[in-house]
Symmetry: C2
Subunit: 114 residues, 2 copies
DNA sequence: CCGCATCCGAGTGGATACTG
DNA sequence: CAGTATCCACTCGGATGCGG
């Protein structure tokens, strides 16, 4: 993708903020990765991420469902079980995460090597 | 850059979080863009970004200086003036921002088109 | 097992005033 | 002009308990 020029930055802001709102929190990427790794159930996801409370997990999952990164399926029976799964669409975030990762690796090298 | 595979995600997390910490706040990208657009002085930057208080601006600028995205130069005289400038290094964020932007544009299209 | 409701403390961020 | 200090409202998020 081409680089943004300075004069284009202002108009670029809203979508940038949208994206940051969606993946920028403290937990969303962790949760997404946990699901990518195969965790499907609420407690499974909770246990896979230290320090994450049920309240926060619950609200994060709702956001992510609204943004179509995951699906939520209730399986009737007793006890009730719920399955969360990553959507194909969520895969499109991988290039974004890859870019964040790449910059972060380089930045860490730069800051520490001084 | 190649896509991340699932099993690589865990090790990818720290650098991703680093990057999000650096640009993920509510203001940092706005401030960076304001400086890219030519605003150099504290009050100039403040006035260019609605709702941004001096306290927050002050602390954000410190973070950004620590991360070498900007430089701070005090010009003696009276009244004292200070110049903030974006570093060449800060330009490396443009591809990250471009990726966030591109995903955000597409996401907005997807969400609204329903 | 799933996940919401409630309570509550800590931290964030806004407004304003003030110093150098 | 540049930035800090203070006060305060508000939000966030942790702990816990409960209902389905």
């Amino acid at each position: 993708m081409k680089k943004l020029e300075h004069h284009e930055c202002k108009s670029a802001l809203l979508p940038v903020r949208d994206t940051l709102d969606i993946i920028g929190g403290k937990w969303k990427i962790l949760i997404l990765i946990s699901i990518w790794e195969g965790n499907k159930h609420f407690r499974e996801i909770e246990r896979s991420i230290p320090k994450l409370s049920t309240k926060v997990l619950s609200s994060e999952l709702k956001d992510m469902e609204a943004n179509q990164l995951i699906t939520r399926t209730v399986i009737n029976g007793f006890p009730v079980r719920t399955e969360y799964e990553a959507t194909a669409y969520s895969e499109t975030l991988k290039s974004v995460i890859a870019e964040l990762h790449s910059w972060g690796v380089n930045h860490r090298k730069k800051i520490l090597g001084q």
